[in-house]
Amino acid sequence: MTVWLVPTARAISWWPLVAVAALLAGASALAERTDFPVVGLLGIAAAALAAAVVAGLHDAAAALLSAVPTSLAVRRARRLLLLLPVELAASWASGLNVPLGGLVALTAAGVAVAFWAGPLAGAAVPLAWVVVARAGGFAWDQHLALVTIAAAAALWTGRNR
């Protein structure tokens, strides 16, 4: 087993992802009982999951680790390797059928912003995206491939940071 796996998993603050997963499971169960249409919840659900993953990139010991040879990009990539499967599992377990493309695009956008402006700013991106789309009256799940590619490019550019 890789030596970084267990300490990295322990260093991650899991509560945002666990809280969102529990909330979505509850909302899904409630919607099923009351025949509430879940379609309206999908954007919020995807944004909340994406924000929780990005929040998991916050590193309490970032200052202490800022001069170790394992770069910030690698440390964050390792966190994502642990966070993303849990995000997908939480999405699946909620039973809400959150669209995978939307979830990927929102998460990628948040992670890209987090790499350049920090995890708090990154976590705000998916939520702001869905809220602004709703307020503006346009669909949040447009141009998902374009957003994902742009986010991947931003991450590639910042890989040596």
Partner: protein, 283 residues
């Protein structure tokens, strides 16, 4: 000041801006073996300079060489990071980790993958900062001074050739400060910022004083004290012409400035030299 190729640390004309603020301006310094102190008031640019030396922050201008390598090149930067230790001013720690787990994780991130070696090394550094008895306690249960020593142990893992320490004595009691001095005096090259002048006088072979982002003094602690030679005097009343006056524990006034005729001149301390420099800077 001459910079040689054998210097562990060689900085020439280093500068860093944050927006319109010049945090560090035209800083040149060098260090071989020994402990180098960085003095200056809050906001003088010490932390920014140390962050650049620790390869955490890229300078806007100037030349920086660490261990003969150029941190601007990604490959060199990684090699430098393998060979330095950095203690930031506010080192965040994982509250749920034990001291041992945290230092071990730092060792992993410093690319030490041999478990047996790590076990020996983590114990060694924790013992060196006298934390053997609490190494398996959760960090959230430790005092501020003990946490500071955990962070120091993390910076020292792997016996780095260059230690960059931003106020390492923060939160330490006098006894712990003495132990820190003895620990640092055994290290290869240490660049440390401090507000504690007695630390500099006890530990440092070389001292740099920064004001407003610039180095205003470089020399030995004795040379810093000598700046105030013939400019310190004591008497029973306050002298309004002195540039600084303060009442000592003995109930007499100590004055800094141009002494009046017949004044009782006393030998200057490091504090006197620093205060005189600070006063000249703010004039």
């Amino acid at each position: 000041m001459s910079i040689t190729s054998t210097d562990t640390l060689a900085v020439t004309g280093l500068a860093k801006r944050f927006g319109g603020t010049r945090a560090v301006e035209d800083v040149t310094l060098s260090a071989g073996r020994g402990v180098i102190g960085l003095l200056g008031p809050n906001g003088a640019g010490k932390t920014t300079l140390l962050r650049m030396v620790a390869t955490v922050l890229a300078p806007d201008a100037g030349d920086l060489r660490l261990l003969g390598l150029d941190p601007a090149r990604p490959g060199d930067r990684i090699e430098i990071r393998r060979r330095i230790g950095y203690l930031p001013q506010s080192p965040g720690l994982y509250a749920g980790f034990t001291a041992y787990d945290l230092v071990d994780y730092v060792a992993v991130l410093k690319e030490h993958t041999d478990k047996a070696w790590r076990q020996r090394e983590v114990r060694r550094v924790l013992e060196s900062v006298e934390l053997a008895h609490v190494m398996h306690k959760k960090i959230r249960t430790l005092s501020g001074g003990t946490r500071q020593r955990v962070a120091l142990a993390a910076a020292m893992v792997g016996s780095p050739e260059l230690l960059v320490l931003d106020e390492p004595a923060n939160g330490l009691d006098p006894d712990q400060r003495l132990r820190l001095r003895s620990l640092l005096s055994q290290s290869q090259t240490v660049l440390m910022s401090t507000h504690n002048i007695s630390e500099v006088s006890a530990l440092c072979q070389q001292v740099y004083v920064m004001f407003s982002g610039r180095i205003r003094f470089s020399g030995t602690p004795a040379e810093l004290a000598a700046l105030a030679d013939g400019r310190v005097w004591e008497d029973g009343t306050q002298d309004p012409l002195a540039i600084r006056s303060w009442l000592t524990a003995e109930g007499i006034y100590r004055h800094l400035g141009d002494p009046p005729a017949g004044a009782a001149i006393v030998a200057p301390t490091l504090d006197d030299g620093y205060l005189l420099l600070a006063r000249q800077e703010h004039r």
